[in-house]
Symmetry: C2
Subunit: 478 residues, 2 copies
């Protein structure tokens, strides 16, 4: 069934090229998808073709969930105004979110995007500590705003990226597979790896202390854009200890990984047994609606109030955004989506591990709940990134109507972070298809892989025209 469109796809592309900044890049650039419908874990193009969505963590409770749509529809027709007026939705949302947090995290600020949330988090840290120096992780991404790009090596590391400010200090990402310290090279004990990585932050703290002191440590509880990184056990606990000894505050960026995605906990920082001073959340919070938040301690909130400078965010915490976020929480609870993320995520993870035994291209499989990464390497000894192969796989999966993407500094990590309504059947279809696609790569098909390193910053970009060489030749290294 084809869907109604306002114009043919060719016209959409023409207008887009004319009027939308080219820095806003399309997924599958050479043959982009026009998506006109979404239902649960599926998206539909204008011809009615259905795609299994394995990457949209924003559509957290499923595309166009009726309960969320209804909440938005209802509140939109009642009132949407700013939070200088009292409204029940904002205070109910705040109360519900605080209930999911460990003490003393109890004061909320509502904003419109994860970027705005992280910007405010850093402002709070600055006002509270009266210091500026920030420690961030390599390959981290915290948002598109000027202030966030400053602390995002994911952007700073690019050839055309801006210069790193001198108040930003980059610690190595705790990637135990291809990072600074890896298993089994440096230690077989996960805890020891955690200590080695945490000590890197400790060293930075010592250096910064000499020139005044640390303002903040900011990190995603599980690094997403950096390549679906699961830090070793004990890592954040030791990091927070170092940072607090240097009088800095600890910011947990839960924008991508929060709201139960990890399955065992509502927030990914909980898997590390820590209590941050500031938590930011966004993407899944509104299931696509622009809403985000910062939650902090009464002490830090007071420092902010004490400046006497009002914080006003025009749309932040408006009744529609809050009603939608409350509805998302309803669905997470009522449909037990956290439990589902644990169950389906474990199934997905163990099936991917099964695939690893079969395909040498898979160097590492890691994840928590419905946050899974499959790292492709051309050689399991050297762990050389299989960037071109990853590009090919993403592209072939799209032909099979399954949307996945890839990330990490070498764009060689396949990432899965589907809507939380993903089923074990969906996971099976994903893995079975991936198995087939990887087998094609092993099977000597004539394909043409451009093996030069990707200098393009577009980690998700894949091109239909990229593969046409003799595969066996290419795959000698695998």
């Amino acid at each position: 069934m084809a869907y109604l469109q306002s114009m043919p796809k060719s016209e959409t592309i023409k207008l887009r090229e004319k009027h939308i900044g080219a820095a806003c890049q399309l997924f599958f650039r050479s043959s982009p998808l026009k998506i006109v419908r979404g239902v649960a874990q599926f998206m539909y193009d204008e011809t009615g073709e259905r795609y299994l969505d394995c990457i949209n963590n924003v559509a957290h409770v499923g595309h166009c969930h009726p309960h969320v749509v209804e909440a938005g529809r209802n509140q939109m027709s009642l009132i949407s105004t700013n939070n200088r007026y009292l409204h029940d939705e904002i205070v109910m949302l705040a109360e519900r979110l605080v209930k999911t947090m460990p003490e003393p995290l109890s004061v909320c600020f509502f904003v419109n995007s994860g970027s705005e949330a992280n910007d405010l988090a850093l402002r709070l840290a600055r006002v509270h500590t009266k210091r500026k120096d920030v420690i961030t992780l390599d390959h981290a991404y915290h948002g598109h705003l000027t202030s966030m790009i400053d602390v995002s090596p994911y952007k700073l590391n690019l050839p055309g990226g801006p210069e790193k400010p001198d108040w930003v200090h980059v610690a190595p990402v705790p990637d135990v597979y291809r990072g600074k310290y890896t298993y089994p090279n440096d230690s077989t004990s996960e805890e020891n790896l955690g200590k080695l990585y945490a000590d890197e932050v400790g060293k930075l703290c010592d250096e910064i202390k000499k020139k005044g002191g640390v303002c903040a440590f900011i990190a995603e509880s599980l690094q997403s854009c950096g390549g679906q990184i699961i830090p070793p056990e004990g890592y954040l606990k030791k990091v927070f200890k170092h940072v607090r000894e240097a009088n800095g505050v600890c910011i947990a960026d839960e924008v991508q990984v929060g709201f139960g995605r990890v399955g065992t906990h509502m927030w990914a920082f909980e898997t590390q047994g820590v209590v941050p001073d500031i938590v930011t959340m966004g993407k899944p919070m509104g299931n696509g609606h622009p809403v985000a938040a910062v939650i902090t301690t009464p002490e830090i909130a007071k420092s902010f109030t004490d400046t006497g400078v009002e914080y006003f965010n025009t749309y932040g915490g408006n009744p529609v955004s809050c009603a939608i976020a409350n509805a998302v929480l309803d669905v997470i609870e009522e449909e037990r989506l956290m439990e589902r993320a644990a169950r389906v995520g474990n199934h997905l993870l163990s099936r991917c591990e099964g695939l690893q035994h079969k395909h040498k291209l898979i160097g590492d499989v890691r994840g928590r709940g419905l946050f899974v990464g499959v790292e492709l390497v051309t050689d399991r000894e050297t762990r050389n990134p299989a960037t071109a192969e990853a590009k090919h796989v993403v592209n072939r999966m799209r032909e099979e109507k399954i949307l996945i993407s890839r990330d990490g500094p070498d764009s060689n990590v396949l990432k899965f972070k589907p809507p939380m309504v993903f089923t074990t059947q969906d996971a099976d279809r994903l893995v079975d298809t991936l198995d087939r696609v990887l087998s094609e790569l092993n099977g000597g098909m004539t394909v043409n892989v451009k093996l030069e390193m990707m200098v393009t910053p577009i980690r998700d970009e894949v091109s239909n025209s990229s593969l046409q060489t003799n595969m066996p030749q290419l795959l000698k290294a695998i």
Copy 2:
């Protein structure tokens, strides 16, 4: 008629105090309003009491306009995903917005808030000019983000505000009533006043040129928070000339004043006969829904693309936000709201001018369309700000079920920027009531005005308990 609430107002207040950062301030702090419904230019509290909304420029086409609500409802149930996929709503919106712009402004970026738009505008300017120094106007406000507070003297000037960075240069605001150059003191010719103020920007350009060059000049086309300032004729033309001679780019912030509010034009910069290099828009764009945009030239957009750094904004330009913004444009066109803003605005302005003849407290009346300021002074010669009286007036008007606010560095400018569906009858009611309230001030009622200067940053804040003195004594100066 009372409306359904989830909890009594006292409980809402209690939860708000507990869980919402106190830096997010309530309007009428000591006796805040709980607003549960909105229809056109009216808002309703939980008891069913109706208020005439004279300040909500965000609810541009009227609170909960059915066409806008319907567009949101409809698109929410179809699909809302990011702009890495093609969609018709985003390209249609871009095409429509570009049609309202003078050439060569034709490339759009969609974001979630005016703050995000201004942040991106500055990023574009930086990347394009490869320079950093920015000229801003005194008392300007461009957003709540770290990068925007840096260029917002409205916040920097506060006692607890952050320090002004050395790359920010502040030019005097072209306020011809209480600014650096005023009528009739400095010149009776408006054009000459425009030149005097523009030359102040020229002087800054000369200074900055010595140390490298200007990155950007950023200003609201009509300054809002600074006190509803209408720059003298020719001002922006001369400013843009200075800035461009110094190779800087000119950013017009239309977040508060765009979308036809000025009545004669869609964009306030058009009243000054200029073509900016970058235009930002927000608040009214989604009638309360978080959507905003940056429109620039192909040349500047190309500089941004050429960095190779992708610009990705998770919710920016999503189908729901764009469908809503398209619906807002529909209503502006179909209900001829621009013409209405001109007609009703002129009526409101001339009636306020009538009031000025009657009440010495009114020092100045100014405006364009439905963007009007009434400046209160204790003495027409010295133009001393009547801050306490303005506070009293806002408070009394609220008792009369009319919502106005006050702004400007001395919080003595009453500001009117109602939804664009405001009628001449509404304007009459507003002015008649204001007349009555001002007459009370003249009439010797027993009131208690705290005359100390307001050091609080809360320009909109009024307290019910502030007035209980003998008024004639207080008003000697008037």
